[in-house]
C-alpha cells in the first residue's frame, strides 16, 4: 500500500530564494513523521504545499492518494492542519471556533455542535468552551488549534511546529495528545526545530536544511549517524585548545570540532560516553591543562547539523535572513 503522504522531487522558489530544492518523503499510514530543521530550512513551505496553500514549482506530492495540485479541492476535506500555519479566532469562544470549522467542513449544524462539544471535552477545554479564545493561555490556544483540525475526523494531520513557544508543561500535554491520536491510527506529519520533540514523537525523522533532506531514518539511526553522545570541554585559556586536541587524539569516534571564541571543544564519542570521559580526565591532568568544564551531552539539533552539514543550525528571528546567510556560506564552501 502506498504511503499516506508521498512527496517526490518537490521544488519551490520565492524569487531567488530556493525554499525547497527537491525533497522526497514517504510517510507510512498510522505513523508520525518528523520534519526536523532550523528556521528557513523549508519545513513550513513543505507543509503549505502539502495542505494546498501553496503551489509547488516542480515535483509532485500526494496525500491519502490525492494529488495536492490536481485534486486539491477533494483533498481539503481529508486532512487537518494546525500550528504555525493555521490559527483560531481569538474573538470567538472555544466552542464557536470549533463549530465554525466544523460547518466549513460542511458538517450539518447539529453535528458540528455535538462534535465541538465532544472534542473540547477530550482536549480538556470543556470548562473554557464558553470563553473567548483571547482569554486562553498559550497552551490552551494550541490545544484549541489542534482540536479544530480534528473536527472532521481527518486521517492525516499536519502539525506545523505545534509546541514552539510553549512552556514545558504544555509541551508535555500536547505530546501526550499527539501520541493518543497516533494510537487511533492517524498519520501525522509534524515539523519541529527540536530534536528532542522528534525523538519523543516521531517514528521516522527527516532532517531538512536549505530545502533539502540531508538525512532520514528513525531517531536511533540518526543518532548513530551523527555519532551519539558528545564530550564537551571548556578551557580556561584558549591557547590550550590545540594542545587538548593533541592530547585527546583518537579518543572519540570522530574528528573534534573547535570553537575558539567560546573556548570549547566537542568530540563525538558514540555510545561510549562515560568511559571516554573517564579516559580523558587523567590525560588532561598529565598535560596540566586547566579545564573550566567537562561534560557529556546527548546529541542536539546543533550536533546533527554540525555533523551533517559542517555548519551550525542557526535559530534566527527572520527565517529568510537565516536561510540566505547559510546559503551564502554553503555556496562559499561548496562552489558548484
Amino acid at each position: 500500500m502506498a504511503g499516506a503522504i508521498v512527496v517526490e522531487g518537490l521544488v519551490k522558489s520565492f524569487g531567488t530564494v530556493e525554499a525547497l530544492r527537491g525533497i522526497d518523503l514517504d510517510v507510512a499510514p498510522g505513523t508520525v513523521f518528523g520534519l526536523l530543521g532550523p528556521n528557513g530550512a523549508g519545513k513550513t513551505t513543505a507543509i503549505r504545499i502539502l495542505t494546498t496553500l501553496l503551489l509547488p514549482d516542480g515535483g509532485r506530492a500526494e496525500v491519502v492518494g490525492l494529488d495536492v495540485v490536481r485534486d486539491a479541492e477533494a483533498l481539503r476535506s481529508r486532512f487537518g492542519l494546525a500550528g504555525q500555519s493555521a490559527a483560531v479566532d481569538e474573538n470567538l469562544t472555544g466552542l464557536e471556533n470549533i463549530e465554525m470549522v466544523g460547518r466549513l467542513y460542511h458538517l450539518p449544524s447539529a453535528e458540528a455542535r455535538a462534535r465541538a462539544v465532544e472534542i473540547l471535552e477530550r482536549f480538556g477545554l470543556a470548562d473554557a468552551a464558553g470563553r473567548q479564545a483571547k482569554t486562553y493561555s498559550g497552551g490552551m490556544r494550541r490545544r484549541l488549534d489542534v482540536a479544530a483540525s480534528l473536527v472532521a475526523r481527518p486521517d492525516v494531520l499536519f502539525l506545523d511546529e505545534p509546541t514552539t513557544g510553549l512552556d514545558p508543561r504544555s509541551r508535555m500535554d500536547l505530546w501526550a495528545m499527539i501520541r493518543e491520536l497516533v494510537n487511533e491510527g492517524k498519520t501525522i506529519l509534524l515539523t519541529t526545530q527540536y530534536l528532542e520533540e522528534a525523538d519523543n514523537l516521531a517514528d521516522r525523522i527527516a532532517v531538512i536544511d536549505l530545502g533539502t533532506v540531508i538525512a532520514e531514518g528513525t531517531s536511533d539511526e540518526l543518532k548513530d549517524q551523527i555519532g551519539g553522545e558528545v564530550l564537551e570541554l571548556h578551557v580556561q585559556d584558549r591557547a590550550d585548545l590545540a594542545t587538548i586536541v593533541e592530547i585527546l587524539a583518537g579518543i572519540g569516534t570522530g574528528e573534534p570540532t573547535l570553537d575558539h571564541e567560546a573556548g570549547r571543544i566537542r568530540i563525538p564519542v558514540g555510545s561510549a560516553g562515560p568511559s571516554t570521559l573517564l579516559d580523558s580526565v587523567p590525560r588532561l591532568d598529565d598535560g596540566s591543562i586547566a579545564i573550566a568544564d567537562i561534560a557529556l551531552h546527548r546529541p542536539t539539533l546543533d550536533d546533527v547539523f554540525l555533523s551533517l552539514t559542517g555548519h551550525a543550525a542557526e535559530q534566527e528571528e527572520d527565517p529568510d535572513a537565516a536561510a540566505t546567510k547559510r546559503r551564502g556560506r554553503a555556496r562559499g564552501e561548496d562552489p558548484r
Binding site: R48, T51, T52, L53, L54, L55, L66, D71, E73, A74, R76, S77, F79, L81, Q84, S85, A86, A87, V88, D89, E90, N91, L92, E96, M100, V101, R103, L104, Y105, H106, L107, Q132, A148, A152, R153
Partner: protein, 280 residues
C-alpha cells in the same frame, strides 16, 4: 466516517452554489459576532462621521456658495456625507481581511474544503450590516443638526439601499487592496490615500460648479457624484437635481448609479476571488 464533500468532479453546480452561500454565511456570522464582541471598534468608527458632520456644518456651512436655491448646506451635505461614510466604512473590509491574513486565519480557511469566495463574501456582507448600523446612527446625528428627509419613506429607504450598495462596491475594492498589500498598516494608508481624492473631487460635499473649471468634468463623471446626487434626490426630491450636468430625472440618476455599481462589482469581485485563490 467521512464528511460530505467528495472529489471535485462529483460536486455539481447546485451543490457548489449551496456550499458557497452556506460557507459565506458561516463567515459572515463569525464577523458579525466580532462586531458584537468589540463594540468599541464601532464607537470609534462612528466618531469619524460625527466629526465630519460637525466640522462641515459648523465650519463650512455659511461659506459654501452655489447651493441649489432654497437649500441650506446641512440639507445639501448630509446625503453626500452618508455616501462618503459608506465609502470610508469599506476600509474595514481591507483591515479585517489583512488582520485575518496576518493571524493565519486565512490560511486555516484556505486549507478547509469551503468555497473560495466565502471569506470575501462573508466579509463584504458583514460589512454591509455594519455599515447599516453606522448609517442609521449617522442619520440620527444628521437629524440633530437639522437635516430632514423630504421625499417620503420610500425615498429614504431607497437612499439607504443606494448608500449600502455603494459601501458594498467599495468593500470589494477594499478587499482587492488588502489582498495586494497584505499588511494591516499599509492597507489603511493605501485606502485613505486613494479614497480622499475620489470623494472630494465629487458632488458629495460641495457643488461641482464652484470647483476649478478644469476639474469640473472629472467631478461630473465621478461615480461618487452620480451616487451623491442620486442619494440627494432620493432624500430630498427632484429639486436636488443639478441643472447643469448629468441625468435630469430620478430615473436617469438611478440607472446611472446602478450601472456604475454593477460594472464595478463585475470587475472587482472576480479579481478579488482570483487573488484570494492565488494567495501564497
Amino acid at each position: 466516517m467521512r464528511v460530505a464533500t467528495e472529489p471535485s468532479a462529483a460536486v455539481d453546480l447546485s451543490t457548489r452554489v449551496r456550499y458557497g452561500v452556506a460557507d459565506g454565511m458561516v463567515v459572515m456570522r463569525r464577523n458579525l459576532l466580532q462586531i458584537l464582541r468589540i463594540p468599541t471598534a464601532l464607537v470609534f468608527e462612528l466618531a469619524q462621521p460625527i466629526m465630519f458632520v460637525l466640522l462641515f456644518t459648523i465650519v463650512f456651512a455659511r461659506n459654501i456658495a452655489n447651493l441649489p436655491p432654497g437649500f441650506t448646506y446641512v440639507m445639501f451635505l448630509m446625503p453626500g456625507i452618508f455616501v462618503q461614510n459608506a465609502i470610508f466604512g469599506s476600509t474595514t473590509t481591507a483591515i479585517g481581511l489583512a488582520e485575518d491574513m496576518k493571524k493565519g486565519l486565512v490560511d486555516r480557511f484556505r486549507s478547509l474544503p469551503m468555497a473560495r469566495s466565502a471569506v470575501l463574501v462573508g466579509r463584504t456582507t458583514s460589512d454591509v450590516a455594519k455599515n447599516l448600523i453606522l448609517l442609521l446612527l449617522v442619520i440620527v446625528v444628521a437629524y440633530l443638526v437639522g437635516f430632514r428627509f423630504q421625499n417620503g419613506v420610500v425615498g429614504a429607504i431607497g437612499m439607504i439601499a443606494l448608500v449600502l450598495s455603494v459601501g458594498f462596491v467599495f468593500s470589494w475594492i477594499s478587499a482587492v487592496v488588502a489582498l495586494a498589500i497584505k499588511q494591516v498598516e499599509g492597507v489603511q494608508a493605501a485606502m485613505f490615500t486613494g479614497i480622499f481624492p475620489i470623494v472630494f473631487v465629487s458632488a458629495a460635499l460641495v457643488p461641482v460648479i464652484g470647483m476649478a473649471s478644469w476639474i469640473q468634468p472629472v467631478a461630473e463623471h465621478n461615480p461618487v457624484t452620480v451616487w451623491a446626487n442620486t442619494a440627494r434626490v432620493l432624500a430630498l426630491g427632484d429639486v436636488a437635481i443639478p441643472p447643469n450636468y448629468g441625468p435630469q430625472t430620478l430615473q436617469g440618476l438611478l440607472i446611472t448609479s446602478v450601472v456604475w455599481i454593477a460594472g464595478l462589482l463585475l470587475v472587482f469581485v472576480p479579481i478579488a476571488i482570483r487573488m484570494y485563490r492565488k494567495l501564497t
